[in-house]
C-alpha cells in the first residue's frame, strides 16, 4: 500500500511539474477557451438578443467554457500516455516496483489537477462576465470541476490503453472530444426544441451532467438535480478508470 501511495504521488508530481514548467502551453491552452467565451460568446449573444433571449448568453456559456477547458486538458493528459509509450518513458514506469494500478491512478490525479488549474484560469475571468461568487459557491465549483476532470482524464487513459500510436489522436479529437463538447449543452440550452436523436445523444454524453452541475452552482440554472449530475459523472469516471486500470495491468 505504501508503494502504491508513493507511485500515485510521484506520477502526480510529474504531471504537475511538467505543467507548471511549460508556461507557453498554459497560455496557449487558455487562449482557445477565452476566444470561445469572448469572441464567439459575445458574437452569438447579439443573435440571442434578437431572437428574444436574454442578454446573459455569456453567463450561460461561461460554465460550459470552463468545462470545455477541463475536458480538453483532461483528455489530452490521459491520452499523453501514448507519448510516454512512444518515447519509452512508460517502460521506466512499468518496471518500477510499484503496482500498475497506482500508475493509472497517479496519472488520473495528475491530469485532473492540471485540468482544474486550466479551468481555474477561466474562472478568474468571472468579473468580466459579470459574475460574483461566494466562498461556498467556489468550493462546490472546485469539487465539481475536479470530478469532471478526474472522470475525463480516466476516460483519456482508457482511450490511450487501446491506442498504440499517436496517429489516432486526430480521430479522438473528431470522434470523441468535439462531439462530447458540442452535445454537452455548453453552448446552447438542451431542454427543448432539439430533434429527438440529438436529445438522446445529449442524455448519454457524460459531460452534459458535468456542465449542468457546474452551471447550477455558478449561475443557478439547471436541467437535472445536482445529485444526479454528480452521480453520473462519478460513475462514468469510476467505470472508465476501472477499465483503464484493467488494461494497464495486462500491458506487457
Amino acid at each position: 500500500m505504501r508503494l502504491a501511495l508513493i507511485g500515485i504521488y510521484t506520477l502526480w508530481l510529474r504531471d504537475v511539474t511538467r505543467f507548471v514548467r511549460d508556461k507557453p502551453r498554459i497560455i496557449s491552452s487558455s487562449v482557445q477557451p477565452l476566444l470561445w467565451l469572448f469572441v464567439l460568446g459575445l458574437g452569438l449573444s447579439t443573435a440571442f438578443v434578437r431572437g428574444g433571449g436574454g442578454s446573459d448568453y455569456l453567463r450561460f456559456i461561461y460554465p460550459g467554457i470552463i468545462s470545455m477547458s477541463i475536458l480538453f486538458t483532461s483528455i489530452f493528459s490521459g491520452v499523453s500516455i501514448i507519448w510516454d509509450r512512444e518515447f519509452g518513458f512508460l517502460k521506466e514506469v512499468l518496471v518500477a516496483p510499484i503496482p500498475r494500478w497506482s500508475v493509472a491512478v497517479g496519472r488520473a490525479l495528475g491530469g485532473s489537477t492540471v485540468a482544474v488549474m486550466q479551468g481555474t484560469i477561466i474562472l478568474l475571468f468571472a468579473p468580466v462576465v459579470g459574475l460574483k461568487f461566494t466562498a461556498l459557491q467556489l468550493i462546490f465549483a472546485f469539487l465539481i470541476m475536479f470530478m469532471i476532470a478526474f472522470s475525463m482524464t480516466s476516460f483519456g487513459i482508457l482511450i490511450a490503453a487501446r491506442m498504440h500510436t499517436h496517429e489516432g489522436f486526430q480521430v479522438v479529437v473528431n470522434f470523441v472530444l468535439l462531439p462530447m463538447f458540442f452535445l454537452s449543452g455548453a453552448m446552447f440550452p438542451t431542454q427543448k426544441g432539439l430533434p429527438a436523436w440529438m436529445h438522446a445523444l445529449v442524455d448519454i454524453d457524460p459531460l452534459s451532467y458535468g456542465v449542468d452541475a457546474l452551471r447550477q452552482v455558478l449561475v443557478g440554472s439547471w436541467v437535472h438535480p445536482v445529485w444526479l449530475d454528480i452521480a453520473v459523472v462519478a460513475c462514468f469516471g469510476a467505470v472508465a478508470l476501472a477499465i483503464g486500470v484493467w488494461y494497464f495491468e495486462r500491458t506487457e
Binding site: 511539474t17 511538467r18 519509452g88 518513458f89 521506466e92 518496471v95 516496483p97 506487457e252
Partner: protein, 279 residues
C-alpha cells in the same frame, strides 16, 4: 521476461532468488534496467528524472539526494543536472540512463545494447564505467550486444539464434570449442579452393566477404602445407586465434544478420551475454 515485463510462457526463473512470476515487485526492486531505446522524460531535467526514479523505488529522501549526487558524478553529468533532458546528446542520455539504472543499488543490472549507435569515444567511456562498477560494487551485469568485442569481457556468454539458446559458456571455453586457429585465405577462385580443401584435408572452408575461413588445430603448421598443396593460387593468407565472432559464425553458420531492431521485448537472434561478477 526476467525484468517482469513479459509474462513467462512456461518454466520458472529467479532473479536475485525471487521468482519472476510470483515476486514481481521484489524482482523489480533488485534489478536496474538500461533499455536500448531511450526511456527518459525529456521534458524533465536530469535531476528530476533521477528524483522520479528514486521516489518510485522508495528510496528515502535523504539517501536519495546523496545517491543522486553520487551517480551524477559517476557519469560526469553533475554540471548538466538542471538542464532539460531534451537538450542532451545521445551519449549523455545513455549515461543518464545508466546512472538511473544504478540509483537504487540494484543487484543485477540489465543492459540492452548499452552502446548501440554511440560514437567510439562514448562507447569506450561507458565501458569504463561498467567495468568499474562490476569490480567496485560487485554488481552482476546481464547484457545483450551486437559487438563481439564487448562480449569478450563477459564471464559467461549465451548465444541465441532464432530464439533458441545454442551455446552458453565462458568466452575461452567457447573459443576452444570451435577447435584451434582460424586461417583466412584469399584465392583466385574461392569456390575451387574450398572444394580442394574439403577433398584433401577434410576441412570445411566457409566463404565470407570474399575470403575463405577455416578452422584447424595448429594453424602455424598447417599453413605452409596448405599453400604448397593447393592448386588454386593463393593471393593472401593470415592466421589468428579464434575470436568470439568466429565462435558465433561457427555456431550459427553466418554473420549476425542485420535485423530490424525494435525493442527489448522483440525476440531477436543475437548474442546475449552474461557478465558475472569477477570473483
Amino acid at each position: 521476461m526476467l525484468c517482469t515485463l513479459l509474462r513467462p510462457t512456461g518454466g520458472r526463473a529467479t532473479v536475485n532468488s525471487f521468482d519472476v512470476a510470483k515476486g514481481k515487485l521484489a524482482v523489480r526492486k533488485s534489478i536496474g534496467l538500461v533499455f536500448q531505446d531511450p526511456s527518459l522524460d525529456e521534458r524533465l531535467t536530469a535531476l528530476e528524472n533521477l528524483r522520479f526514479h528514486g521516489m518510485i523505488y522508495g528510496i528515502p529522501r535523504h539517501e536519495r539526494e546523496r545517491r543522486i549526487a553520487e551517480v551524477l558524478e559517476l557519469v560526469e553529468l553533475s554540471e548538466r543536472q538542471r538542464d532539460l533532458v531534451r537538450t542532451f546528446s545521445g551519449g549523455m542520455k545513455r549515461r543518464l540512463e545508466i546512472a538511473r539504472g544504478l540509483l537504487h543499488r540494484p543487484k543485477v543490472l540489465f543492459l540492452d545494447e548499452p552502446t548501440l549507435g554511440l560514437d567510439p569515444q562514448t562507447r569506450h567511456h561507458i565501458w569504463e564505467y561498467i567495468n568499474q562498477l562490476r569490480t567496485d560494487e560487485g554488481l552482476t551485469i546481464f547484457l545483450t550486444t551486437h559487438y563481439m568485442d564487448e562480449a569478450e569481457h563477459c564471464g559467461r556468454i549465451a548465444i541465441i539464434d532464432h530464439g533458441e539458446l545454442i551455446a552458453m559458456d565462458t568466452p575461452n571455453k567457447l573459443k576452444e570449442g570451435i577447435g584451434g586457429d582460424v586461417i583466412m585465405l584469399l584465392t583466385e577462385d574461392n569456390g575451387r579452393a574450398a572444394r580442394e580443401i574439403a577433398e584433401k584435408f577434410n576441412v570445411e572452408a566457409k566463404e565470407l566477404n570474399g575470403e575463405l575461413s577455416l578452422q584447424v588445430e595448429s594453424g602455424d603448421h598447417f599453413m605452409p602445407i596448405l599453400i604448397k598443396t593447393l592448386e588454386t593460387r593463393v593471393t593472401s593468407i593470415s592466421l589468428r586465434r579464434p575470436t568470439l565472432e568466429d565462435v558465433f559464425l561457427h555456431l550459427t553458420g553466418r554473420k549476425i544478420r542485420d535485423e530490424k531492431v525494435e525493442g527489448w521485448d522483440q525476440l531477436r537472434s543475437r548474442v546475449r551475454s552474461k557478465r558475472r561478477r569477477a570473483r
